[in-house]
C-alpha cells in the first residue's frame, strides 16, 4: 500500500510539472491546468467498478462533453462541433501567451486530462508502470515547447526537473533491475525531442504550419472616398471619448501600381498571431469609446494596434490592425477599443535603421523611372532612413496644395500628374490626402523605406467630454517602419501629424538644406506611364468565398480505433461473464494477438501447459466446464486467464503490443 502511495505521488509530481509547464502557453491558466493534472485519479476511482479501459474512456467522454459545452457557451451562435474542432488551429495561431478563454483552454485541458488518465491508470499495472508517465510528461513538455516556441523553458530547467523526477521514479520505485529496452528507447527519443526545442531558440514556429481560421472579406478601398468625405464637410461620422489620438480606419499595405489594397483575410481579435513586423520598443496603451453616428461600410474605426474590441463580431488583420465588422456598421453602434500606440522619441529615430527584407512594404511593381529618379534625387544627401523620410515629406508637400476637387486615384499616372504635372493640367500639384500619402509612400518605397498608407481621421478637440469626428476630418497618411521602433507616421499634407515632432524634422531639413538642391523632374510627359490607370474601385464587393468545409474524414481513423476498442472491450466483458470457457477464449484471443495461435487440433491442457502453472490449472477448469455433466462455475478462471494472458503478452513483439487493444482479429475468430 505504501508502495502504491509512493507511485501515485511520483506520477502526480511528474504530471504537475508537465501541466504547469504547459500552462505557460496561456495567460493565467495555472490553476485550471494544475487541477486537470489530477483528473486521472477520477479514472482510478471509476476503475473499481469497470475495467480500466472503460474508466479511461468515460473520463475522456466527460472531458470532451465538457469541452463541447464550453465551446457552446463561448460562441453560442456557432456550431459547437465546429468551434471545438477549430480550437487547435485557433490556439496555434493565437497570441502568445494565449488568453485563457474557454475555447482556447479546451485543447490544452483535454491533452492534460488524457495524459493524466493514461499515466495514473498505467502505474497500477506493473510492466508499463514507469514508461507511460514518462511518455506523458515528455508529450506535455513538447506541447508546451511548441506553443511557446521553446520560450517556456529557455534554460532547460523544467526539462532537468522532469528528468530528475523520472530518474527518481526509476531509482526508487522500479527496482527490477535494468529498465526495459522500449522505455530506454522512448526516453532517449523524448530527450532528443526536448533537446531540439531547448537548444535553438531561433527556429521552429508551429504556427506557420497551421492556416489560421481566417475569413476572406473583399472590402472596398476607402481611399477614393476621401474626396467624397471632403465634399461632405460637416457630416458627423462618429463620436469618441478618450485621449486625443488619430483614429485609424484602415491600413493599406499592398500597392499594385494602380491602387492601394487592403488585406483581405481577417481573424478573430486577440487570438491571432503577432504582426509580421514586431511592435516598437516604446508603446502606450490607448482606450477609446466610440459611437457610430454616420459612418458606413465595414471598416471599424480603432486606435493604434487594437488589442481588444468590445464587439464579438469584430475581426482584425493581424499585420495592419485594421478592424472590420463583416455585416457592416450601423448607426448607434457603440463600442470600446483598446489599442497600443507606438511612441518612439525623436532621438530614437535619428539613427534607426529599417529592415531590408520586407519586400511586402517596399514592393513597387513596374515603377516608372521618373518616380524612382525623383525619389533618388530627393534623398541623395540624406544619410539615415529617418533623414530620407523627413526629406521626402518636405519634397512631397512643398508647392502642392490640398484640393478636395482634385481627381481621385493613386496610380503611377495620377501620381506623376500630381508630382510633375504642368501648371493648368487637371490635378497637377493638387490633390487630396490620397495623393499626398500615396505619392509619399511610393517615393519612400522607391528608396527602400518600408511604407504603408493609413486611412483615418485627424485628432479633433474635445467638446463637453466628447470628440465629434466629421467627414472633413477624414485623411490619409503614410507610415514608415523603423527597426525596433515600429511604424512612424509622417504627414506630407501639413508637415505636422502625430509622428516625429516638427522641431526634429526642422533640424533634419536644415542640415539637408545646406547641401540639397530642389530636384526637378527631368522629363515630364514625354515618359509615358507604364501602367495605365484603371478603375480604382473595380475590385469592390466580391461575394465572400464559402468557408472551406472541415475535412471531417481525418477523424475516421480515430473513430475507427475507438470503435474497435469498444468492440474489443465489450467482447472481453462478454467473455468474462461466460465463466471458464469465456476465460479460455480470452486466452485464445491473447494467443492470437501475440501471433501464437495454437493449431485447432491441440487440446486445452496441451496449450495451457505451455503457460506455466496458471495455464495448466485453467485448462483443468475449462475442460470441466466444457465436458463435465454438471460443471461447477469456477470464479478463479478469469484470474488464471489474466495470468496466462500476461505471460503471453510478454512473449509478443513490441508492435503486436502496440496494436493489442484495438487489433480486430479476435472479433472474427470463430
Amino acid at each position: 500500500m505504501k508502495r502504491e502511495a509512493v507511485k501515485f505521488a511520483w506520477v502526480s509530481a511528474l504530471l504537475l510539472v508537465g501541466a504547469l509547464q504547459l500552462a505557460q502557453a496561456w495567460d493565467g491558466a495555472f490553476v485550471y491546468f494544475g487541477l486537470a493534472a489530477f483528473s486521472g485519479f477520477l479514472a482510478l476511482l471509476l476503475k473499481r467498478f469497470v475495467p480500466a479501459g472503460l474508466a479511461a474512456l468515460a473520463v475522456m467522454v466527460v472531458a470532451m462533453a465538457g469541452g463541447f459545452l464550453m465551446a457552446k457557451g463561448a460562441s453560442p451562435d456557432r456550431d459547437p462541433t465546429w468551434v471545438l474542432l477549430d480550437t487547435v488551429p485557433r490556439l496555434l495561431t493565437a497570441a502568445r501567451p494565449a488568453p485563457a478563454t474557454p475555447e482556447l483552454l479546451v485543447p490544452g485541458l483535454l491533452l492534460i486530462i488524457g495524459i493524466s488518465t493514461g499515466a495514473v491508470l498505467s502505474v497500477t499495472r506493473r510492466g508499463t508502470a514507469l514508461f507511460v508517465p514518462a511518455l506523458g510528461a515528455a508529450t506535455l513538455y513538447v506541447a508546451a515547447a511548441l506553443l511557446t516556441t521553446g520560450r517556456a523553458d529557455s534554460y532547460g530547467l523544467v526539462a532537468l526537473t522532469m528528468v530528475v523526477v523520472l530518474a527518481l521514479g526509476w531509482l526508487i520505485i522500479d527496482r527490477r533491475g535494468p529498465v526495459v529496452p522500449p522505455a530506454v528507447l522512448a526516453t532517449a527519443l523524448a530527450a532528443l525531442t526536448l533537446l531540439t526545442f531547448v537548444l535553438p531558440a531561433n527556429g521552429f514556429e508551429p504556427r506557420k504550419l497551421v492556416t489560421p481560421p481566417v475569413t476572406d472579406i473583399a472590402i472596398s478601398n476607402p481611399l477614393p472616398q476621401l474626396a467624397s468625405w471632403a465634399a461632405q464637410g460637416e457630416t458627423e461620422l462618429f463620436r469618441m471619448r478618450g485621449p486625443e489620438v488619430p483614429v485609424r480606419l484602415v491600413t493599406l499595405s499592398r500597392y499594385s501600381g494602380a491602387s492601394w489594397e487592403a488585406a483581405s483575410t481577417y481573424g478573430p481579435l486577440g487570438v491571432v498571431d503577432a504582426p509580421d513586423l514586431p511592435l516598437g520598443g516604446k508603446v502606450q496603451d490607448a482606450s477609446v469609446d466610440l459611437q457610430i453616428t454616420g459612418l458606413q461600410g465595414e471598416w471599424l474605426p480603432g486606435v493604434g494596434k487594437p488589442q481588444a474590441v468590445s464587439l464579438s463580431n469584430a475581426m482584425v488583420d493581424p499585420d495592419t490592425g485594421s478592424l472590420v465588422v463583416a455585416d457592416g456598421l450601423r448607426t448607434g453602434l457603440s463600442y470600446t477599443v483598446r489599442g497600443v500606440v507606438e511612441t518612439p522619441a525623436d532621438n530614437d529615430l535619428a539613427e534607426a535603421q529599417v529592415p531590408v527584407d520586407v519586400t511586402k512594404y517596399t514592393a513597387l511593381p513596374r515603377l516608372p523611372f521618373t518616380l524612382a529618379d525623383y525619389a533618388r534625387q530627393a534623398t541623395q544627401n540624406a544619410r539615415t532612413p529617418y533623414e530620407k523620410a523627413v526629406a521626402l515629406e518636405q519634397v512631397v508637400r512643398l508647392n502642392r496644395r490640398p484640393d478636395a476637387e482634385a481627381p481621385v486615384g493613386s496610380s503611377y499616372a495620377r501620381l506623376e500628374t500630381f508630382l510633375f504635372g504642368a501648371e493648368g493640367e487637371s490635378g497637377a500639384n493638387a490633390g487630396t490626402a490620397e495623393q499626398f500619402a500615396s505619392a509619399y509612400a511610393v517615393l519612400a518605397r522607391a528608396v527602400g523605406l518600408p511604407t504603408r498608407v493609413v486611412v483615418g481621421f485627424q485628432p479633433v478637440p474635445e467638446q463637453n467630454g466628447e470628440r465629434i469626428v466629421r467627414a472633413a476630418d477624414a485623411t490619409a497618411w503614410p507610415e514608415v517602419y523603423f527597426s525596433g521602433w515600429g511604424w512612424v507616421a509622417f504627414d506630407p499634407v501639413s508637415g505636422n501629424g502625430s509622428g516625429p515632432s516638427a522641431a526634429s524634422k526642422r533640424e533634419v531639413l536644415n542640415r539637408l538644406a545646406s547641401t540639397t538642391a530642389k530636384p526637378t523632374p527631368t522629363s515630364l510627359a514625354s515618359v509615358p506611364p507604364l501602367v495605365q490607370p484603371s478603375a480604382v474601385a473595380g475590385d469592390a464587393v466580391a461575394a465572400p468565398a464559402a468557408p472551406k468545409s472541415f475535412p471531417f474524414w481525418v477523424f475516421t481513423p480515430v473513430v475507427l480505433l475507438v470503435a474497435l476498442y469498444v468492440a474489443r472491450t465489450s467482447r472481453r466483458l462478454r467473455l468474462r461473464a461466460a465463466g471458464p470457457v469465456g476465460a479460455w477464449n480470452e486466452v485464445l484471443d491473447a494467443l492470437q494477438l501475440a501471433g501464437l495461435r495454437p493449431k485447432p487440433s491441440r487440446t486445452v491442457p496441451d496449450v495451457g501447459r505451455e503457460w506455466g502453472e496458471a495455464g495448466a490449472r485453467l485448462a483443468v477448469v475449462v475442460d470441466e466446464a466444457a465436458f463435465a455433466p454438471r460443471p461447477a462455475n469456477d470464479e478463479q478462471s478469469w484470474r488464471l486467464a489474466r495470468q496466462v494472458k500476461k505471460a503471453v503478452r510478454r512473449k509478443a513483439s513490441w508492435w503486436r503490443k502496440l496494436v493489442w487493444p484495438v487489433d480486430p482479429r479476435p472479433l472474427f475468430r470463430r
Binding site: P600, S601, R602, T603, V604, D623, E624, A626, F627
Partner: protein, 321 residues
C-alpha cells in the same frame, strides 16, 4: 451416471494397482496404466515387443496385484486348440466324462508369442476372448471375471510364424509395446538384489470382485456429445486417408469411447476430455488400420498416419453447456 466419489475411489484402486505392479516392472507406468485400462474396460492387450523387455513379468505382476489367477500359454506351431481351451476327459474314479479346463480359465492369461501358433489355435483363443465362454461338447464353461488376455507378439524373427489377420487384431482392445527402460531404470533393474522382476514381492491390493464391479460402473461415465463427434471425426479421418486401405471400424471407435471412459476415470475425472481421446487413440486405433501396399513400401507406419489424422482433426472447442 457416475459421480465424483466413485471416480476418486476408482482412481485410488487404479493407483494402488499401478504402484503394486510398478514394484516389479520399473519405469513403465504408462504401459502398466494402459494394461489396467484394458482390464477395466473388459478388453485385451497385444504387446508387440522383442524378447526380454518384461512382457511376461508385466502380465504376472498385474495378476499378482489383482489377487486373481494367472496362467501362461507358450504358443508353438504344434499347439492344439484344446491345449488352450481345455478338454473333456474320462474320470475312471467317477466313471464320468469330466471337463478339464485349459489355461484360459484364469483372470489373466498370458499368450506368449501368439503368432507362432497355427491359425486354428489362434482363433480358438480369440473366440474365448470375444465370447468369454468355452463350449466343449455342447456345454458352455464361463471364464472367470475379470478376464484379461495379454498376448505378446515378437515383431522380429518372423520366420515360420502366422501373422494375426487384421480381423483378429481388431479383437484386441489395445496394442502397445513396452520398450527398453530408461538408463536409470535399467541400472535399477540390473543392480544385484533388485526387486525388479520378482513377482513374489508384488502385493495383492485388490480382488477380482472389486475390479469387475468397477468395470461395470465405468461404462456409465459421462461422455459429452462434442467428444463423441470428435471421435467420429477421427474415424472419418482415418477412413478418408489415402495411405490407408482400411480405416477404423465402428467397433474400433466404440472401443475408443470405452477406453477413454476408463482412462478419464483413472485420471480422477468423471467426464472425458479431448486430451483423453488423444492420449489413448494410438494404442486403441493404430493396430486396426491397414496400410496400402504403397504406404507399406514407403515405410509409413499406421501410428504415423494416425498422428497425422490427430493433428488434422480440430478438437471440440470448449463451449458452455
Amino acid at each position: 451416471m457416475i459421480d465424483t466419489g466413485e471416480v476418486s475411489a476408482f482412481r485410488d484402486l487404479h493407483t494402488r494397482l499401478g504402484d503394486a505392479v510398478e514394484g516389479a516392472v520399473r519405469g513403465k507406468r504408462d504401459v502398466v496404466d494402459l494394461v489396467l485400462v484394458a482390464m477395466f474396460a473388459g478388453g485385451h492387450v497385444l504387446l508387440e515387443d522383442v524378447p526380454g523387455t518384461g512382457k511376461t513379468t508385466l502380465a504376472r505382476a498385474v495378476a499378482g496385484a489383482l489377487g486373481g489367477v494367472s496362467r501362461r500359454v507358450q504358443f508353438t506351431p504344434d499347439l492344439l486348440p484344446s491345449d488352450v481351451t481345455g478338454t473333456s476327459v474320462y474320470d475312471p474314479q467317477t466313471g464320468q466324462i469330466r471337463f478339464r479346463p485349459g489355461p484360459v480359465f484364469a483372470n489373466i492369461v498370458l499368450a506368449d508369442e501368439i503368432n507362432r501358433a497355427a491359425a486354428k489355435t489362434q482363433s480358438a483363443l480369440l473366440e474365448v476372448m470375444e465370447e468369454r465362454t468355452v463350449t466343449i461338447d455342447g456345454v458352455g464353461h464361463s471364464v472367470p471375471d475379470p478376464f484379461l488376455v495379454v498376448a505378446t507378439q515378437n515383431p522380429i524373427d518372423l520366420d515360420g510364424t502366422y501373422r494375426l489377420p487384421e480381423a483378429q487384431l481388431d479383437r484386441f482392445m489395445l496394442r502397445t509395446s513396452i520398450g527398453y527402460p530408461s538408463v536409470e531404470d535399467e541400472l535399477d533393474v540390473l543392480r544385484p538384489g533388485s526387486g525388479a522382476g520378482r513377482i513374489a514381492d508384488v502385493r495383492t491390493v485388490s480382488s477380482p470382485r472389486e475390479v469387475s464391479s468397477f468395470s461395470a460402473r465405468l461404462s456409465l461415465l459421462h461422455v459429452a456429445d462434442p467428444i463423441l463427434q470428435y471421435i467420429s471425426a477421427l474415424g472419418t479421418g482415418t477412413r478418408s486417408d489415402e495411405r490407408l486401405r482400411l480405416g477404423t471400424s465402428t467397433r474400433g471407435l466404440r472401443t475408443l469411447v470405452r477406453c477413454a471412459q476408463v482412462y478419464a476415470a483413472s485420471k480422477g475425472r468423471h467426464f472425458v476430455v479431448p486430451q483423453d481421446v488423444q492420449d489413448i487413440a494410438d494404442p486403441v486405433l493404430a493396430h486396426r488400420l491397414v496400410l496400402t501396399r504403397e504406404s507399406v513400401l514407403s515405410g509409413v507406419t499406421t501410428s504415423e498416419v494416425l498422428a497425422d489424422v490427430l493433428s488434422r482433426v480440430p478438437v471440440p472447442k470448449p463451449a458452455a453447456q
